[in-house]
């Protein structure tokens, strides 16, 4: 990869923030990864997450019923099934979160391109390298559950896992290359006018910046209070519930066993919802901050930009609120969270289309 050569620099590129091939590749790749990851998350939540949780609970209950009979083989059989359900869920969550996170990094790298001190061709190749690995990683993670150990050269790790690890390592290398380019710029001491492109969209940009920062503060405080609550000893530890389950199952006390499973279900629900709320607050915060940078590039009227920004901010705040409302209101909370998620996706798609229009109208003369 010829990364050296005529290093690209200067205010011309900085003044046209989507003016180079590397920026276009990273911006469009990033937005597609984020929108794709979010859409996948919606589908996963509706069709896989909830039925899968129910199957895990049923298998564990069935395993507990075998304790009085001393059926050790049957118990291990049920836990093997639980392992499969957990892998199904875990790989979907990982595919969803990795696609979104890699998309975020792609957008940030696009914004940083004016300061990456490589030749134009080197930057374009490095951008394609990043996006290709960024697409390969979540797809490989998704396939782990389905490919399994078929034709695997390793006893416990399948081909999809090997590919996911490989793409992860290559992504790390792709980021390191960008780091190297920035380091070269930092050492050169060259100053760049950061340029602001076509301009406009001030209100939308401010709305997104303020919303994003507020969400991040909320996310940190939420995480800190949740951790403090766990440390305070007010939460019943998972291990205590499990010990109670096996004890009551052995003594065949079905009434207490039913209470234990209800407590275990509640414990799992509280943990999953609290973690998801914390994660989604932060992710929505970062997304809003990133979108604030794109506003001046959108060929829409100020009122249209503000409208899409309001939709993104409202969706960003409502999504974690909806997740949290799943505790007292169940499906109602899920519907709010899913609707908010779709609102953010709609806003993202509108901004992506705007960026594509901007690129088409300004791209002819670009390098």
């Amino acid at each position: 990869m010829p990364l050296n050569g005529n290093a690209t620099s200067g205010n011309a590129i900085a003044n046209n923030p989507l003016g180079t091939n590397s920026q276009r590749v990273l911006t469009i790749g990033g937005l597609l990864l984020i929108a794709g990851g979010m859409l996948f998350g919606e589908i996963f939540a509706i069709f896989i997450l909830h039925p899968n949780n129910a199957r895990i609970g049923e298998a564990m209950y069935a395993a507990s019923q075998l304790i009085p009979q001393g059926d050790v083989e049957g118990i291990f059989g049920h836990f093997q099934a639980i392992g499969g359900f957990l892998e199904n869920r875990g790989t979907k969550v990982d595919a969803h979160s990795h696609a979104i996170h890699v998309g975020y990094i792609a957008l940030l790298l696009a914004a940083l391109q004016p300061w990456v001190n490589f030749s134009e061709d080197g930057k374009r190749r490095a951008a394609w390298f990043f996006v290709a690995c960024g697409l390969g990683l979540p797809v490989s993670i998704f396939l782990i559950h389905y490919v399994g150990l078929a034709y695997s050269p390793v006893e416990h790790i399948g081909w999809a896992s090997i590919m996911a690890d490989l793409f992860g390592a290559l992504l790390s290398l792709a980021v390191f290359l960008q780091f190297l380019g920035l380091w070269r710029h930092a050492r050169s001491g060259e100053r760049l006018d950061t340029g602001q492109g076509p301009g406009g969209g001030e209100q939308a940009s401010r709305l997104l910046l303020a919303g994003g920062l507020l969400l991040l503060v909320w996310g940190f405080l939420y995480g800190a209070f949740y951790a403090a609550w766990l440390e305070s000893g007010k939460a019943i530890p998972e291990v205590d519930i499990l010990k109670s389950i096996v004890t009551n199952a052995a003594s065949q006390n079905q009434e207490l066993l039913g209470q234990d499973f209800a407590a275990y279900g509640k414990f799992q629900m509280y943990r999953a919802i609290n973690v998801a709320t914390h994660t989604h607050i932060n992710e929505m915060g970062i997304l809003l901050l990133l979108l604030s940078f794109a506003q001046r590039l959108l060929p829409y009227s100020d009122s249209a930009r503000t409208r899409w920004a309001i939709l993104a901010v409202a969706g960003g705040f409502l999504l974690p609120v909806g997740i949290l409302l799943e505790i007292p209101y169940g499906v109602v909370g899920s519907v709010i969270a899913d609707s908010a998620g779709f609102a953010v996706i709609a806003s993202l798609v509108a901004m992506l289309l705007g960026l594509l229009r901007h690129i088409r109208s300004a791209g002819e003369g670009a390098p």
């Binding site: 001393g70 940030l108 416990h156 100053r191 995480g223 970062i286």
Partner: protein, 165 residues
Amino acid sequence: MTTPQRMLILTGLFLIAFTMAFGVWYAVFDEHQTLVGMGVQMATGFAEMAAGEPGASSEALENYAALSQEYRREVHAHGHWGMLSLVLIIIGLAFNRLALSERHGLLLAWLLALSATLFPLGVLMQIGPAAGLGKLLTVPASLGMVVGLLVSAWALIRNPQRAAD
């Protein structure tokens, strides 16, 4: 690019590359083994009770709880390094919109860069023998992030003209 911007962006990129490398190492050498261990210990907890060994059952379930805690901390450290590195880069890119003096800007950049690096490290350290030190580290580091974000928001609001650039 100013010194605080350079500090935030380079720290952010370094943390992304580092956490990705950590994630790959973790996935290959530790995650799979930890997950299998968790499943085996929980199943053993049930099986030992079925075999009439409540002591062994309790021990297996305690092992499951310890592994589960370890797994969550490792995943949290990886995830938090990734998220915080993005926050550093974004604030670095928007730094010229903040109404801060050069000295205050530099202090803010140091605060955010150190907090983002040390908070996940504190989470990770809670697994090993330095668990107490890890806990001690996470409190000021998370506080540093909250203060840093609030100062950033305040500096942005204080300067509405530049924020709109």
